[in-house]
Structure formats: C-alpha cells, structure tokens
C-alpha cells in the first residue's frame, strides 16, 4: 500500500495524466462529472457522486458508429471507429465500479460490442472507497462493499492522505508510472477508516431492502402485480433515471444527415420514453405503466434471470435524488418486494 498527502495530490494527478487522459470528478458550472484532468480544474474527490455515472466513459451518451457517403444511388460506408487511447478513470465509487460488471454482461456477451470492449481494455479504473455515504445509498443490498470497491487500483481518503493499493495487473502497471510521487504506507489508517465507515453504513435507512421476491417469485406473478399501476401513475416518462443510472444500457441508433454525408451514431435511449417501442402500426407498450414496469422488471427480474442472479442495479441512489417526482427503484423494491395481499 502506498500513500500521498492530500496537499500534494496534484502531483499524483499530474503524474497520472502525464501519458494518458485522466478522468476524474471535476466540478464545472456547479455540477460534478468525470472530466479530463487539467491544471486548475476543480477536482471534487469529496463528492459522493457525479451526476452521470462512470458508464459514460465506456458507453458514451453519443458515439459515432460510421459515416456514409451517398452518391446518386450508391452508398459508401466508412467506419467511424477510432483507435482508443488509454485512459485512467479515477475516483469511481464502489457502486459505479460494480456497474461495469453489469454492463460487461451485456456488451461483452456474444457478439461482443467492440466499441465498448475497446474502451474497457484501454481504461484503467482507480476506484475510491466511500467514507461518507448518504441516505440514498443502498449498495450493500447488492452485496457491494463501499469501503472496498472493485477496480484496478483502490484508493482511500482520510483527512490528510490518499492511500493507494493496486489490485490487478493493470493496476500494478499504473502504480509503476506514479510510484515516484507515492510513498509506502501500512494499512492501519485504512482499516480504521473502513471500520468507521461500516458503522455509518449501519445507519443507512435503506440498508435492509429485501430482494428475495425478485429472484424467488414467478416472473409473471411480479409482472401481473396490480401495484405497478399506482407506482407508475405519475411517472413523467422522462429519461432522468435512465440517464443517471450506471447500469441502464438501452441505446438507439440514429442517422444524421450532415449535408455531405450521413453519420450513423448511437446514443442512450430510455425504455421510459413513449417512442421506445413504437412502430408505425402500433406500440406494444402503450401506457407509462407498461414502460415503467419494463424498466424495473428488467433490472430486478429479467436481468438476474439471464445473468446468474446479478441485479441490474447497484444501489448508487442517483435516481433517488434525481427523479422529478421521487419515484424510484427503492420504492419499487419496497412495494413489489412484498407479495400482493400478504
């Protein structure tokens, strides 16, 4: 284990960003996102979450797939792929770190999504343990240890030091490039902090959410539960929950005519949107109830069924604080987690 004093942390960032792009939580116009590090950037390691999750780095909101040139009746296709440069993603919380596993199940399954795969391959993840969770946190429900996140390198922060531990080969390699600014450390401070954090975690109001029904009850029983109607009644059908969610991965493929060619790009889509499944002659999900149900059934029932019980939620709590009407997955788990008429 290594450490570096927080007042020298810019040296670490400078070292990390020396050869490759370093993404870390930076505040711009009042909000925090993973932005490339530059000198004088307002780095906010204290923040619990970025608004968008870290998935944006591997599965960007908008990404060009290819360019097409039209000439009379002929079409020419040029791949819009570019060779991915290596990058470091620093400051990923445990929940977001787990979300990469969830996304891997989708994008790395056959056939592999090479755009995603390339970014995964080129990205080194430096995750950061939590010490100050908020009431919206419930990652523990999904077996995530916020004090011991997954990642190539894990870092812990206490009041004056950052502790650094490589966990994978990639992590070791990265450590080598920054070793000069780090000093050796024992793990006492980290252990003490982990213990303190665990105590706080015990006070989290959502820590006891019960997921058993979603894996044990019949899919159609949950699907046909009448309480979906009241849960979804006031859903605005916006995409906020989807877009801030670290595990939502629905996308759309669209064409844009630039006047001298057509760009085919993909962008995040939301199953909460009315036009998500709409076809010219009809829409299999006509009401917001059906769209709302789909989102949560997918996260809590369909996805685990196909992926050895792994839920497509990591308990980051973003949707809890961002939903305009405060309807969210915690409420769904609480309500639907109990069988109707029980």
């Amino acid at each position: 284990m290594f450490k570096i004093a927080l007042d020298k942390i810019d040296e670490l960032f400078a070292a990390l960003s020396g050869n490759e792009t370093l993404y870390l939580p930076i505040e711009k116009s009042g909000e925090i996102e993973f932005y490339p590090y530059e000198k004088d950037a307002k780095v906010r390691l204290d923040a619990l979450h970025t608004v968008k999750s870290a998935k944006d780095l591997f599965f960007p909101q908008t990404e060009n797939l290819m360019n097409m040139k039209l000439d009379g009746k002929n079409i020419q296709i040029e791949e819009g792929r570019h060779v991915e440069d290596p990058f470091v993603l620093f400051g990923v919380r445990a929940c977001d770190a787990r979300s990469f596993d969830v996304l891997d199940k989708v994008f790395l399954a056959d056939p592999v999504d090479s755009y995603y795969a390339a970014r995964r391959e080129h990205g080194v993840i430096v995750s950061m343990a939590c010490s100050r969770p908020e009431e919206t946190c419930f990652c523990n429900v999904f077996g995530i240890d916020a004090t011991m996140p997954e990642g190539d390198v894990v870092v812990w922060l206490d009041t004056d030091h950052l502790y650094w531990e490589a966990k994978t080969e990639k992590g070791e390699a990265l450590t080598k490039t920054v070793e000069s600014v780090l000093t050796d450390s024992d793990s006492k401070a980290v252990e003490a902090q982990i213990a303190a954090t665990k105590e706080i975690m015990d006070k989290l109001p959502l820590k006891d959410l019960d997921l058993t029904r979603f894996t044990e009850d019949e899919m159609m029983n949950i699907f046909n539960d009448s309480r979906w109607a009241e849960m979804s009644e006031h859903c605005l059908g916006c995409g906020t929950c989807t877009f801030v969610c670290p595990t939502c991965q629905c996308y759309d493929i669209r064409d844009y005519d630039t006047g001298h060619g057509v760009v085919r790009y993909r962008c995040w889509d939301s199953c909460m949107y009315r036009d998500f499944t709409r076809m010219a002659h009809g829409n299999p999900r006509k009401s917001q109830l059906e769209r709302f149900r789909q989102r949560f059934m997918h996260k809590l029932v369909y996805f685990p069924e196909n992926n050895d019980g792994m839920f497509s939620c990591v308990g980051c709590g973003r949707c809890l604080s961002k939903c305009p009407i405060h309807t969210n997955i915690a409420k769904v788990i609480k309500t639907m987690g109990v069988k109707e008429h029980e």
């Binding site: 909101q61 990404e63 060009n64 844009y256 001298h260």
Partner: protein, 154 residues
Amino acid sequence: MQVNETNTVNTEEKEFTPLIVAFCCNWCSYAGADLAGSSRLSYPANVKIIRVPCSCRVNPLFILRAFQRGADGVILCGCHPGDCHYSTGNYYARRRMTLLFSMLDYLGIEKGRTRVEWVSAAEGAKFSATMNDFAATIHKLGPNRKLRDLRCEK
C-alpha cells in the same frame, strides 16, 4: 460525454466570404429582390434567397437550422408593417423575431448575425443596399463559430 469523429478544419486560412440566407416573403421582398435584379443593382452572390409565402411562415427552427448548417448570417425580409398581403402576418413575424433575436443575444450569439428588414416590391434599391450592408456587417463579425454544428463542417 460526446464522441465526435469530425475533424475541425481550419477555415480561417481562406478569405472569409460569409454565407447569408435571406428569407423573403413572396409578395413584397421577393418581388423587391426581383426588382433589384431587373434594375441590375448588385449585392454579394453569397446571399441566397429562400422564398416563403409570408414573413410569418419563417419558423425560428429554420433560422437556427441555417446557422447549424454553416450560415454566417440570416436575414428575414417581409412587407412593411401594415402592408402584409395577409394583413397581419408580418406583425406576428415581428414579435417572434424580436424575441428570438433577443434570446440569441442573451445566449451570447453576436447580435448582428440576424436581421429583419421590411422591403416592399418597389424597393429594389433598398433590397440591394440592405443585402450589401448586411453582408458587410457579417464580414466584420467573421465566421459563425458559436451556433454551428461541427458535424456539418466540410
């Protein structure tokens, strides 16, 4: 996060000739432009006219679209207030454009890039003078950099 593959081409190296889109109402200003033509009153060739039935047909979307696609200036010409072929169309257009232009200014887009002029069918000279003046203004402002779509650049 966006990933765009478009390369930014440095257009400044070339001599800057602004691209100007002029929306002209069919009854007054388009006829005014025709009159400018038959009177051989020249104005820059980079002013391209789009004929619309009335100035009130011009949707803010069209104006933004022109900028998106690389126009450096957009001008809307219609009948003088009170002379609208449809009696009230240009009054609505006037309010819409006032608010739209004010909003663009508020967003930090250069004020001079948009303009409304009332040009009657008899004002060929005014049409040509207006276009010359507008083109000069845009030339001074330089290329539109703030309200364009990188994907559409050549």
